[in-house]
């Protein structure tokens, strides 16, 4: 039997040998023209590279380094950030493992948008969504446990599409697919991947694929700015480079009324181009990113002009890549100061306000007649006033499918390490079989003043004002800054 195994092993080595050579691709073969930007490139280096530590992961936890500095363990995706950072759950580890991929650096695709960034992000998302097993691994003696900010773990990601398939090194695949250049410059005794990364980057360099020298066809390099309305983006978003397929969006100049703020992010509402039938103005969430301090100088009620790009995030169109300076070429400008503005000190309101629709009132969303989640859709992307009843859920898990009974705060809200909070709730609507239509409240950790979860009591109903956005198959209401001061939450029962 042992002899047979040896023969099989030898045959396997012989079969695999041609694939694992140092230069498996000739320039002529490798530099074929890609049919389109999404065409996947052959990945012989990734295909042939074996996971040497495969036998270790099942009995290990990624968050606990071994004596030799190796960290290894299984993980599942919690949420995606971009092409080189993903949030994972690891068993028996309460916090999210925010993993920065080693050896790569994909173009930006969140607060800032760069060519190929959206496509890199989408590539990683698709792979990990379809993965059957995901294993994280790091050699902490070489790379350290976390990045320079101290907030992100570092690691490689091995994944397999099914239990019967081989593990593949995602970081390497990203380089070989030319969504990142090689950023692995040091050798590791435990994980000696560097030569492979260099080899993987060689073809990209030779052929100029993607980040190595091809223009992203869905990125607007022109520098031209389209001055358009939010309604125009919503109605014709594909014309402005917005798609689920990794488009990066065109440069836009938006003029709008600030109707709500979450930390430094905000919701902008059109000041022209009202719906011909309803007279309503369209609105959109504008993601500010970190350290922009937008809320230190923009107030609810201001009418501003701001430069941005529109992107698709979790099925919602939003404004990203905001230009947040008040000086320079693409600066924020005020068309009129709202009554809350620190820059307007007169007794009478800014007279320019009368030139615009400056009413920040929400749209009433009466859910009592709703039968399905589709009924929420027309209100998605608007600031709404609606009723929510706080409900119990299963504590300490993400299972929110059923109302449960329980005691204690943890049964109706959850916070992550960034203080982002979900308060579980339901609308007034019922399905045809009398099941509740769930509608949670989402509170960004950056909302200020932070709404203590003690504002809510399970079983009680509140009238809330917030921004309705799609979240997977359902909808949630994102709450704003200054909740107490603006009566954003009013107890009804």
């Amino acid at each position: 039997m042992k002899k047979l195994k040896k023969i099989i092993l030898a045959l396997a080595v012989l079969v695999l040998l041609p694939l694992s050579g140092c230069d498996p691709i000739t320039p002529e073969e490798s530099c074929k023209k890609l049919a389109n930007a999404d065409e996947l490139i052959a990945t012989p280096i990734t295909d042939s590279f074996k996971f040497a530590q495969e036998s270790l992961y099942q009995n290990s936890n990624f968050t606990i380094p071994k004596a030799n500095g190796l960290m290894i363990g299984e993980a599942s995706v919690k949420s995606h950030t971009d092409g080189d950072t993903v949030n994972f759950s690891v068993e028996d580890y309460e916090e999210t493992v925010r993993l920065r991929f080693l050896g790569i650096n994909t173009p930006e695709s969140t607060a800032k948008i760069e060519p190929w960034g959206q496509k890199a992000s989408l590539f990683v998302k698709r792979i990990l969504e379809e993965a059957e097993t995901i294993v994280l691994i790091n050699d902490t003696t070489t790379f350290g446990e976390r990045d320079s900010s101290g907030n992100r773990h570092l690691g490689y990601i091995w994944y397999r599409a099914s239990a019967s398939s081989d593990f593949r090194l995602l970081n390497l695949e990203i380089v070989e697919q030319c969504f990142s250049k090689n950023f692995l410059f040091v050798d590791s005794d435990l994980l000696p991947y560097r030569p492979l990364f260099e080899q993987a980057a060689e073809r990209g360099e030779k052929c100029g694929y993607r980040v190595f020298g091809t223009k992203d066809p869905d990125y607007d390099y022109s520098g031209e700015v389209a001055a358009i309305t939010i309604r125009e983006i919503r109605d014709n978003y594909e014309d402005y480079g917005v798609s689920e397929g990794g488009s990066s969006g065109k440069q836009l100049r938006i003029s709008g009324l600030v109707v709500g703020q979450m930390g430094d992010s905000m919701v902008l509402r059109d000041i022209t181009d009202a719906d011909e039938d309803t007279g309503e103005y369209a609105s959109m969430y504008a993601y500010a990113g970190y350290n922009t301090s937008l809320a230190s100088f923009i107030a609810v009620g201001d009418i501003i002009m701001i430069y941005a790009r529109a992107t698709m995030f979790s099925g919602n169109i939003q404004l990203s890549d905001l230009k947040t300076n008040t000086t320079g070429k693409q600066k924020i400008e005020w068309l009129a100061f709202g009554t809350n503005s620190q820059f307007w000190t007169e007794d009478e309101p800014d007279p320019r306000l009368s030139n615009y629709p400056s009413d920040i009132s929400p749209y009433l969303m009466d859910t009592s007649s709703f039968k399905t989640y589709e009924d929420f859709a027309p209100y998605s992307g608007y600031v709404v006033k609606t009723n929510v009843t706080i409900r119990y859920v299963t504590p300490f898990t993400d299972d929110e499918d059923d109302d449960v009974s329980g005691e204690g705060d943890e049964y109706y809200y959850k916070k992550d390490s960034n203080k982002n909070m979900t308060v579980y709730g339901k609308s007034d609507g019922l399905t045809t079989d009398n099941r509740p239509l769930y509608m949670n409240l989402r509170v960004s950790g950056e909302v200020y003043p932070y709404p203590d979860y003690g504002l809510f009591e399970p079983g009680h109903t509140y009238e809330v004002i917030g921004y309705l956005a799609k979240y997977f198959d359902r909808y949630q209401v994102q709450l704003f800054n200054n909740i107490p001061g603006n009566d954003y939450i009013v107890p009804l029962t």
Partner: protein, 512 residues
Amino acid sequence: MKKRKTPLILVFATLIPLALVSCDVKDDIKYKVSFDVDISGTKIDFWTPFGAAIEEVIEDLLLTFEEETGVTVMHESKGGYDSLKQAIDLSATSNKFPHLALGYPDHFAGYVKKDIIVRLDYYFENGGTYDYGEYEEEDRAFKVDDFYEDYMLENQTIEWKSDTEGWTLGVPFNKSTEIMTYNETFFTWAQAKNPEITIPTTWDEAGVIGPKITTLLRPYFGKVIGTDDIAYANAHAANEAGASVVLDLINTSEDLFRPLSYDSQANLFITTVRQFGGTYTEVDRETGDGYLAYNSQETINGLQKLRDLFNANVLGVPKVWEESKYSSGPFKDVMAVMAIGSTAGVANNAPAGNKFNLSAAPILHNTPDHKYVISQGTNLALLDKGSEAERVAAWRLLQYLSKYANAEFAQRTGYFPACEYAENSDYYQDFLENPGVSTTEKIKMRVAKVNSEVYIDETQNWTKFVDPPFVGSAHVRNEVGTIGDALFFDQNKTIQEILNISYTTLNEFVRP
């Protein structure tokens, strides 16, 4: 024009570290080029370490350079200082390194060993005029003296042409230092309650003012301060009582609160050694080897001061809050109201949602005759590569970035101008006067003013220092950055024991 001052590092450099002088087996003949060569159409590589936001600024600046010169710049970020150095080290044998790169002096020391860095003395002497763009005629001369000595000297104390003079291996580009940001909203409120609560300038003052701050805040920990000075359970309660929130302390408690935090434990140690009269490291003039010099009574005095402030719950370090490197998170949660950290990172202290206002002050010092603050940031270096036209094109880009585009780079990134031309330019002066209205823009301006009006004003008697590099100096810096762990979190050890352990760990750097 501001006067240039003679920093202590000049004296230091002259007296001690004639590093690598014995390695000099070449002169600068091999680097000679004709500056008349046509560079239009030339393509050069330029590697940088920055993240996306700063790279965007670099890209904008390069566009102008390309238009002015006809040179094409293949710019690439290596995603960090370490990875940039690693990438150049790796490419040294294959000649794949770029024509121009940014780096620290210890990086350059490594490039000298690899023989891939270009001495710039010939370039300054023979190619020192920049004839592109629309600059005033008197500004076209490009001289060593254009740059602040504090910044220039670290590029001239790496490889030596004589006992007293070093080769120029780099030109300053992005410069930063340490600064104390503080919660202006808190101090405005506090000073109305207790005028003795001012912004401290010395460690001793911090020891007096810190406890007063904690005492004043004691009723408010875990609550919010209302505009009526009442402690409310949360913003909702304040609002119901007709008050609004001055400051939100819900996320802190007295146990977690330290009035002052200090981010970099390596900088804290190295700066303290200097401020208390000690010496950190020395470099042997004959061999270029570096040695530890901090096991001294002066160092013990400085560390004792820090330990006392820590034990009095005045001084905090990131580990107090279970943070690994920075205290910006606790600062934004008002677990500290003053934070000493890199000027390059001040924007990280700006809270979201208009939580409080920020301002900036010099870091704390010990005595008026020992005002030291560390100088950080990188320099531009030409690497030994390419045709004559490529070398001249890279030199032109070096000139452009370090002088002519430096004001815009500094204004947009928060780094400091490397030269007086940039500092005094209309562009930069306008920024100091009209910085914009956001917290981020305003704090950058305030930091710039601390630099302009305090750190580089010779009447204020501050010295920006950089320790001379040697092989292993980065390793020594990393190791002394762990001294704080023992100093603050292992109180059973005496300071002398801690220093002895440090010397044992770094025994290869102990002078025989």
